[in-house]
């Protein structure tokens, strides 16, 4: 297989993986792992499209360029304009709700087991907060585009 075939095949695989991840984001509860994986794949495929567009010939590589354009459209119209703002909003609301829940139980005397179970919720909260920071970095990148 030629080098171009390799690249073309790799791009198809990665963009397909991205489409699956994007389609998966429509489900009501998205885990932190799924969010991070989706954003990393967006960044991965976006880097590939930037690099490939500089190297491909409009006449010789029309099929691949069409696929790239289609993938860019999905990222821009489906993910950036719709799904990404929804993820930001869900994360913000989830952080607010978890914070409220954790603070509402402050005055109650807790057992060792209760304290250690609650510590897991704090750990979850820290993960949500750092995921939100990560997603916000992506958002800043969009506003500079």
């Amino acid at each position: 297989m030629s080098s171009f075939d390799d690249i073309s095949s790799m791009f198809h695989t990665e963009s397909e993986k991205l489409e699956n991840l994007i389609n998966n984001t429509t489900k009501p509860k998205l885990s932190i792992h799924e969010i991070i994986e989706t954003y990393y794949q967006i960044m991965n495929v976006s880097s590939m499209t930037t690099m490939l567009k500089q190297q491909l010939d409009a006449n010789k590589h029309k099929t691949l360029l069409d696929k790239i354009a289609e993938t860019e459209r999905i990222i821009s119209e489906k993910f950036n304009s719709s799904i990404h703002p929804q993820i930001m909003e869900k994360l913000t609301k989830s952080i607010q709700q978890t914070t409220k829940n954790l603070q509402s139980g402050d005055s109650v005397q807790k057992s060792k087991e209760d304290t250690e179970n609650e510590a897991k919720l704090y750990e979850e909260l820290r993960k949500k907060m750092s995921t939100k920071e990560f997603v916000e970095q992506y958002d800043k990148g969009l506003s500079h585009d």
Partner: protein, 272 residues
């Protein structure tokens, strides 16, 4: 003797990390009694135990021999203080304490260096100021967070003068300091630089005080953080910029290095 004590404490921490099988968010140990490895006055050790026992951040304790040292292990949780501190923009670093024993050893060195007053900046639950009082030094504890400040007021077994105040605007001249040493809470990369710079500026404005003042900075060699070009565990640039020199470094266990190989280097510095 102080360096030996620090090394023995680090060894104790490493032994605890090997055998600890609990689930608490934070944990630390205090030897039960004075020994060759920990030649500390028994009455001082008892005060340190009182501080831990009265402190609501600890919810459980048990006796355990670690290495060959009979100790009490204290298990605690600081999550609610963390959550409160991050909700106030004024708080520069989230609360994460040093070990009580590390606070004691650090203050022991400060005393050995000839300092007469300890000012615990961003003091959390006030353990460094408390240890200074245990060691018969004048001590002051400055903490901006109201929840932590309330906590300190529960722990004044000895009066270490807790103040709920912003250390960057605090009136240090009101304390009539002569030979003070300032323990700066927070790593350089976690708000410590801003805090230390603010306090240094305040001390600079008090005639002749800076030349007699000492500084203790909690550093890190963790690769999680960008290194300081002048080293000193993140504090080199600040030390140079403020005409200070590092005179000694003590490596001591802290809550945040319990699961790490490296301890926390405490950089002792004074004016050139």
């Amino acid at each position: 003797m102080i360096e030996e004590l620090a090394k023995n404490l680090v060894h104790l921490k490493k032994e605890l990390a090997k055998v600890y099988d609990g689930n608490s968010q934070i944990q630390e140990v205090i030897p039960v009694s004075t020994s060759d490895l920990f030649p500390i006055l028994q009455q001082d050790l008892e005060l340190l135990h009182q501080f831990a026992t009265k402190n609501p951040i600890y919810y459980n304790s048990f006796e355990k021999t670690i290495g060959n040292v009979p100790c009490i292990v204290y298990e605690g949780d600081i999550n609610k203080y963390w959550l409160n501190s991050i909700q106030h923009g004024s708080s520069r670093a989230p609360f994460s304490p040093t070990w009580i024993m590390s606070a004691y050893v650090g203050v022991l060195l400060a005393k050995d260096l000839g300092y007469q007053q300890v000012i615990d900046i961003g003091s959390g639950d006030g353990r460094i100021a408390f240890c200074a009082k245990v060691l018969d030094l004048k001590s002051y504890s400055i903490e901006i967070d109201d929840m932590l400040s309330d906590l300190q007021n529960l722990l004044t077994i000895l009066d270490f003068h807790p103040y709920c105040s912003d250390a960057m605007t605090f009136d240090y001249s009101s304390l009539n300091l002569t030979q003070p040493i300032f323990f700066i809470g927070g790593l350089a990369q976690m708000g410590g630089i801003a805090l230390a710079s603010g306090v240094l500026e305040k001390i600079d404005s008090i005639s002749d005080l800076k030349k007699n003042a000492g500084w203790v900075f909690a550093g890190t060699y963790s690769q999680k953080y960008a290194p300081d070009p002048k080293n000193e565990a993140g504090w080199g640039t600040l030390i140079e910029k403020n005409n200070l020199k590092s005179i000694q470094t003590l490596s001591l266990p802290t809550v945040w290095t319990f699961h790490e190989q490296d301890e926390t280097p405490y950089i002792f510095a004074q004016t050139i």
